[in-house]
């Protein structure tokens, strides 16, 4: 297999995706070193999920390329994909399987030893507090329970790169705390994490570096303190709002309130 001689666990070179006339992602270039947690932020429709889909081989880019651990995801998909774990934005699961069956399927797709897979699956479900549901069909599960199974499925093969798209979605506060700590711990062991989220407090606490995307283009890239200094703002929330807000937020809130209460135009 050919490895591309690039540094960084994740490398995007002019990554571009167009849907007809609409360019969802435009010339995104990034180098993410091993062990870094990168927060990938942007308003709705900025192109975050499209970027993740291209980086994980779910969408073919219309331009540029994504390289995972030295392997071009389009040219060497099997090599690249065997190194990544993904928690997608929409919790796609085969819900007519049980968690045990689903995790066993995932483990076999990565050629894990059966005993090791069963042990890991059992441990994950136990730690997530859903061991008693391990043999129940997932079509009755809550959103949070499904998210726990999805996260387990992303980690079971011990990937070196993780793509997480709103991973805390639906999780209770305790599990969210555990996951945040887990991500820090995994990064300290050299795993690279690409973290998409709208929850800026979490990104501020978890990520080493932040990239902000707007209308398909990178508009900011740096560690959180750098971005705060650059924009003269006190928090990541303020930085984000300053860079991406379509207008005066107070004005938007006032207009909304008037619309909800029916006092607009009075």
């Amino acid at each position: 297999m050919e490895r591309t001689g690039t540094d960084g666990a994740i490398v995007f070179e002019n990554l571009t995706k167009a849907f007809g006339e609409i360019e969802a992602v435009r010339n995104v270039s990034l180098v993410i070193p091993r062990g870094q947690i990168l927060g990938y932020l942007g308003p709705n429709g900025a192109g975050k999920t499209t970027t993740v889909k291209m980086a994980t081989g779910m969408l073919a880019p219309t331009g540029g390329r994504a390289i995972i651990e030295g392997y071009d995801i389009a040219a060497d998909p099997l090599e690249a994909k065997s190194r990544i774990g993904v928690v997608p934005e929409t919790g796609a699961l085969y819900t007519s399987l049980t968690p045990n069956e689903y995790l066993s399927l995932v483990a076999r797709l990565y050629h894990l030893d059966r005993d090791e897979a069963a042990r890991k699956a059992g441990t994950f479900l136990e730690l997530f507090g859903i061991a008693d549901a391990a043999d129940r069909l997932m079509n009755t599960f809550s959103r949070g329970m499904k998210q726990k199974v999805l996260i387990s499925g992303a980690l079971i093969h011990n990937p070196s790169v993780l793509f997480l798209d709103e991973p805390l979605s639906g999780l209770d506060a305790n599990t969210a705390l555990v996951l945040k700590e887990l991500l820090r711990e995994l990064a300290s062991q050299g795993k690279t994490i690409f973290y998409c989220s709208h929850v800026l407090e979490v990104v501020e606490k978890v990520c080493d570096r932040v990239v902000i995307l707007n209308k398909g283009e990178i508009i900011a890239d740096g560690d959180i303190d750098e971005l705060k200094d650059l924009t003269h703002q006190g928090s990541l929330e303020d930085v984000f709002s300053n860079l991406t807000s379509p207008g005066d937020l107070d004005e938007i809130v006032r207009a909304f309130t008037e619309s909800v209460t029916g006092t607009a135009g009075e």
């Binding site: 998909p77 994909k81 399987l97």
Partner: protein, 553 residues
């Protein structure tokens, strides 16, 4: 300029086959097939849907085999039972194409995992083979048993029949897969996604004509359950496989039987081989994308026409009815999967109309005349299929892959959930059924006096309204509130095809009017009253059923 990234089919490693992944994926696929995807109103159904469907098919196969056992000709027996099994198989694969050939969740679950196109493709082929084998086995086992009892060489006939029937049904499924994949390759993808529903209708038309109707046109006299084997047998695929059974059971037929067997073997090899070269994970992505309403698709679909919005305001008496009307209006315009489940229905009457033109069987329906040389009376068959299309609407109306969005009906302070269904049904009747019958009238006016055509279509319309109400009773759920489930729709259709009540009623009405034309003054009001009573009964059932129903998500 940087070269464009290679597609999934050209990437390194995509041609490799991974036995362990194949086994894991196949086992998971079969488990998914055999399990219900959701609870129904808090209760698990007694049988898994696939098992319930198989039981239905066995009952259908038994009725057909028993009905045809009176023929003394094993070739004719094989031809007619194989026609039915192959037709049903094709219809099942067409109707539930996106869930039978590729699972809707495959792309999201598997596309980011290291599964090669070849491994995925073999998994899907094996899964499709399992599904079609199980289906065709259920459809064919009764004929094999009855044939084994009736014809020489006894058990040998039954065994050979079963093997050939399984191959015939696999070949049929492969034909459908091939039609789709060729369409996907010939047209560009955007055009294909827009045309997919019409491809469904066209497939139904081709299958009905090829497997059910044309053999009847070409046969000399099937009405008395015997036939003269002219050159027509070479153009009818079920006859090829019937020939193979004849050859294998040494029942005679000579050179013609050998040629038919060669045609059967050749078509099986060519079609199954061809189809096996078409499915890949990339293909799954394309099918999955058919369901997504992207900005592009919405732009292509355009806004639903305002005239129908105004119609909704005029037809619907309450806000709940208007909500149901609007919901269906927008989904029927934009949800390709929903349309893809319904539009095959239009292929059925279209096929019979063509058949009627070929045979000249669509003359004045209210005058007695001799049917010449073919078995199926086109007027009755056209009426039956024109009523049958309501079944497709009745079963598809309640299903969606976005069924969980129906929580809103339970959360909102609605005075009557039944009214939401009523509104949705009004949209179907006035936007889709009434125009269909208007077109039917225009088409029939070419082949019969316009006044007769109007009376005929009125009769069919009234019967269709009765059928639509009665069939909706079996599927009395809120619009788009049930999960899409393999065989759900096919199972419901299978059950109703057993009844044939509409066919019987239509034949009776036509016979009465032929003998006593003045009876029309009584018959039409009676049919109208029947339709009204069915509607009243449906609304009562909907009120009872939906009042205490809880959201199952």
């Amino acid at each position: 300029m940087r070269p464009r990234s290679p597609g999934p089919g050209t990437a390194r490693g995509e041609g490799t086959f991974d036995r362990e992944q194949f086994k894991a994926l196949l086992i998971a696929s079969i488990k998914l097939d055999l399990r219900s995807s959701r609870l129904s109103h808090g209760r698990r159904s007694k049988f898994p849907p696939l098992v319930a469907a198989f039981i239905t098919y066995i009952v259908m196969g038994t009725l057909l085999a028993v009905a045809l056992v009176s023929t003394a000709d094993p070739f004719l027996f094989s031809l007619l039972t194989l026609s039915a099994a192959m037709f049903m198989t094709a219809l099942l694969v067409i109707m539930e194409y996106s869930s039978v050939v590729v699972h809707p969740d495959d792309f999201d679950v598997l596309a980011h995992r290291p599964v090669s196109s070849r491994t995925y493709f073999w998994t899907k082929i094996a899964n499709l083979a399992f599904y079609v084998t199980a289906t065709s086995f259920s459809l064919s086992i009764p004929a094999a048993v009855v044939g084994g009892i009736t014809f020489d060489p006894g058990v040998g006939f039954g065994a050979i029949y079963l093997v050939v029937a399984l191959v015939a049904c696999q070949t049929t499924a492969a034909l459908v897969v091939l039609i789709y994949s060729v369409a996907l390759r010939v047209f560009n993808y955007e055009k294909f996604t827009r045309a997919i529903t019409y491809v469904h209708s066209l497939s139904t038309l081709v299958i009905v004509l090829g497997y059910v109707l044309l053999p009847r046109v070409l046969a000399e006299d099937v009405t008395v359950l015997s036939l003269d084997r002219g050159p027509w047998v070479y153009g009818a695929p079920p006859a090829w496989f019937a020939g193979a059974i004849e050859l294998a059971t040494s029942a005679g037929g000579g050179g013609q039987t050998a040629i038919l067997t060669l045609l059967a073997a050749g078509s099986a090899v060519a079609l199954i081989g061809g189809a096996m070269n078409t499915i890949s994970l990339d293909y799954s992505r394309r099918i999955a994308e058919l369901a997504t309403t992207s900005a592009k698709a919405a732009e292509v679909a355009g806004a639903p026409r305002r005239s129908f919005a105004r119609l909704g305001i005029a037809l619907c008496r309450t806000d709940e009815e208007r909500a149901g009307f609007e919901l269906m209006r927008r989904y029927m315009t934009r949800d390709r999967k929903l349309r893809a489940r319904i539009y095959p229905a239009y292929g059925l009457p279209a096929a019979v109309y063509i058949y009627g033109l070929i045979t000249g069987g669509l003359g004045d329906p209210f005058v007695r005349r001799q049917i010449e040389g073919n078995a199926l009376p086109a007027q009755q068959l056209l009426g039956f299929y024109s009523v049958l299309i309501t079944l497709f609407f009745a079963t598809a109306l309640s299903q969606s892959d976005q069924w969980q969005a129906s929580w809103i009906f339970y959360a909102a302070p609605t005075r009557s959930r039944a009214a939401i269904v009523t509104g949705a049904r009004k949209l179907i009747i006035w936007r889709y059924l009434a125009p269909f019958y208007a077109v039917l009238f225009v088409l029939l006016a070419f082949v019969m006096p316009p006044a007769k055509a109007a009376l005929y279509v009125l009769m069919v319309f009234l019967l269709a309204m009765t059928a639509f109400a009665l069939l909706s009773m079996a599927s009395a759920y809120l619009p788009l509130s049930q999960a899409l489930e393999k065989t759900r729709q096919a199972r419901q259709i299978g059950l109703v095809m057993l009844l044939g009540v509409a066919m019987g009623l239509m034949a009776a009405v036509l016979e009465i009017l032929k003998v006593i034309p003045a009876a029309g003054f009584v018959v039409f009001p009676v049919l109208a009253v029947l339709a009204i009573l069915a509607e009243i009964a449906l609304r009562a059932r909907l009120r009872r059923r939906l009042a205490g129903e809880e959201f199952a998500g």
